[in-house]
Subunit: 447 residues, 2 copies
């Protein structure tokens, strides 16, 4: 025990600190106290003043008093809160049959075929789980089985899941969450702070050095895993020449390249359906989750036949709810909507508007050190000084909480917590961009 | 590579072997081939002739030709396939809001309060995951964090999940799925084969010996985990004096007792809402899953405040879909239906009828060596000879597949695969019992 508060120990950007209830309304206070009492100490709320949500539609959320919030944060409800096609698909399938994958059903096969068509390259099979954590856990189990090795290489502030295995390679959970002895980290490819001409070559060298260390310790390399947006590292969407040299050194060492598409998949980046495709690489394993069912728990691991052959022979895999009939109905509806409503294209167009808007804000506000991202995953880095680039987490927190007070929801990320994280549902419109930008300008003017 | 088929290597009772497609209909063959091609080698179907399911209601399933199957197997759809209250609750919440736990919502707190009221004892908090595997994975992470130790004790053929961590303590996945070095096994409490007067004392001695070994190796004891029905060990519901002596030695060694209620929870045993309550013990952690949302992916870990205090302070836990608004709506509807329709009482009454019926069958069929279980979790053990009690897996498989041909669905379990596993939805009625028993008698007469 010590006097450091839980929120400070278990590091989390934009977490509400239950010790700070004094300024809150009575009903919020009561809810916070009930949560602590019922759900225990491991749960966190967002914002200095937590938000109550009661209903949602599109990119709008409402509390029980009917106050409207612009949701510029939630990437799970990628096709919009309560999209009628997803609601109907889930409802219809719930009324018909909700069961597992050990009976013959066409819908899971039709969806698998549809999904597999989006990868290209060498990806041949897909296996269903319920969460992105389960997908990354399974992916690394498969990689360990395929290679007979145990080592994994990640970026410095990576997040890949909440299972025992994936938490062991998720340093962004903070220093009290122990990393595995078989985990090696490389610096995130941060072109704002580490301006290197050939960042791909540089990153491949970093990865090579860690591979040699893993081999020297007898662990060897099972795999390299990255989210191509490096979202918890601070959102680095460029350069896109980065991962090709990395996959080469990983393959030379006999390891598998795992593309974690839990955040960057399903059109989020605007430029491709999968984030890794922006880098022109062909991974061995692709994992996906969050937006896959628009909130219905469904996730998946897709892989080459070579990667899973031995695992399938020796171990088998069954996930009771994973890929059940309703999960598949939700996932099919989401994939259909992403295509039919051209949401990848919208993400590209509207995401560019957001970045342009923040770039314009940056001409008036020295606090903004960098604006970056791809599609509807935007990072805006706050610094105390543009020369030293010293991170300004307090400014980021003030903007996040200032926007929350004006009923616009975003968050922050990065090792220093100073990067605004803006990743709304993909149905964000021009008018929503205007509202986001004008509210941000108002908050920044008041700092 | 070798010539042993995948199904034989990755041991699974009642798995369809894709090498045996010759006798199947063209459409089944095509589905099997599509599955192998799209989902890869790790998936398994049930039965020698896999079953197609298209829709379900209550305890009945239908294929696309309209053939009706009596479902005496599926424990996930515990309140019956497509129960209207669950369907409506999920539909209504899907239309309103589907979002995560970092906003203030009353429904999760109301449900947590309701659920926590069912445990009694020292259980104070509940945390939500999506699957039973995630629940057991989190439970053991919490136990390791609380104790600072790494060892776990399980029964010989236990199954606790499909994550890297939980698969490492799930020997029923077969010999090619590696157990952790920090895992120790004790024999299952099998009163049919190991008739010991005080089985609780005997089991506590077995556990003590393994604790000493874990301590001698420097692992130490983090926890003991068991499903109180010992379902994958062969279904041992009695004696119920078993676990009290075990929890005492676990606590003496500083370990936590984890009650895995994924199979035995929510009234399944007929005698209590939770299986461990039949043993009169107060576990430190309770995990639950399968029937919790009647197929909607929702699961949970409930625990004492003491168990989770340090974990919550140091690590935090967030599960994107775990306990989201729709998961909570599904779980609340299920808990309400279990109570309102008195399904625990029904499980007790109807389960007794099934066991009595099989006991009567046993007077005419020497193959039946033992009939056991609690509530609607029934085990019927097939033996070649009642004196030697030699397991007869072939007879069990013949009955499972014979019933499938007569459109009654059950399966088999146990280390030798010779124990019929009968665990229908809890809405099973007297007429369904008659149908199950008369079809079983017909199959046995034809053996």
């Amino acid at each position: 025990m010590n006097s450091v508060s839980p929120v400070q120990r278990a590091k989390m950007v934009n977490a509400f600190d239950p010790a700070s209830v004094s300024g809150l309304s009575d009903s919020t206070k009561r809810s916070v106290q009930r949560r602590t009492s019922l759900l225990g100490p491991a749960y966190r709320l967002f914002y200095n003043e937590p938000v109550e949500v009661k209903r949602g539609t599109g990119v709008l959320l409402y509390d029980s008093d009917g106050n409207e919030y612009l949701d510029a944060y939630n990437n799970v409800v990628s096709v919009g809160h309560c999209h009628p096609r997803v609601v109907d698909a889930v409802g219809e399938q719930m009324r018909t049959l909700c069961t597992h994958t050990r009976y013959i059903q066409d819908s899971i096969l039709d969806f698998a075929e549809d999904l597999l068509g989006t990868f290209g390259g060498r990806i041949e099979h897909v296996m269903f789980t319920c969460t992105g954590s389960e997908a990354n856990d399974l992916a690394f189990r498969i990689a360990k089985h395929r290679t007979g090795k145990s080592g994994i290489i990640i970026t410095d502030e990576a997040y890949h899941g909440n299972s025992d295995l994936t938490a062991s390679f998720s340093p962004s959970l903070g220093r009290y969450s122990r990393l595995g002895a078989w985990v090696r980290r490389v610096p995130a490819p941060d072109p704002y702070r580490v301006p290197i001409d050939d960042m791909g070559e540089w990153m491949a060298e970093q990865v090579s050095a860690q591979i040699r260390d893993l081999e020297r310790r007898g662990e060897g390399l099972a795999g390299f895993i990255a989210d191509s947006l490096f979202s918890s590292d601070g959102i680095f969407a460029h350069p896109t020449t980065l991962l090709a040299p990395v996959i080469d050194v990983v393959h030379e060492a006999g390891g598998l390249f795992i593309a974690d598409e839990v955040q960057s998949g399903f059109g989020r980046t605007g430029e491709a359906i999968w984030g890794y495709q922006r880098h022109g690489i062909a991974p061995d394993i692709v994992t996906m989750g969050k937006p896959m069912g628009n909130g219905f728990p469904v996730a998946a691991v897709a892989m080459t036949s070579d990667a899973v052959e031995g695992f399938g022979r020796d171990v088998r895999y069954f996930n009771t709810f994973g890929g059940n009939t309703v999960a598949i109905a939700a996932a099919q509806a989401v994939l259909d909507v992403v295509r039919d409503e051209r949401l990848q294209e919208n993400a590209h167009r509207v995401g560019t508007m957001i970045r342009d808007g923040f770039a314009a804000l940056a001409t008036r506000h020295e606090l903004i050190g960098d604006v970056r991202g791809a599609g509807l995953y935007v990072g805006v880095e706050m610094v105390e000084d543009r020369e030293t680039k010293k991170p300004d987490a307090a400014a980021a927190a003030a903007i996040v909480n200032g926007l929350r007070a004006r009923r616009v929801l975003i968050s922050a990320t990065g090792p220093a917590g100073n990067v605004l994280k803006i990743r709304p549902p993909l149905v964000f419109s021009d008018a929503h961009v205007d509202r986001l930008l004008s509210e941000t300008e108002a908050v920044m003017a008041s700092l």
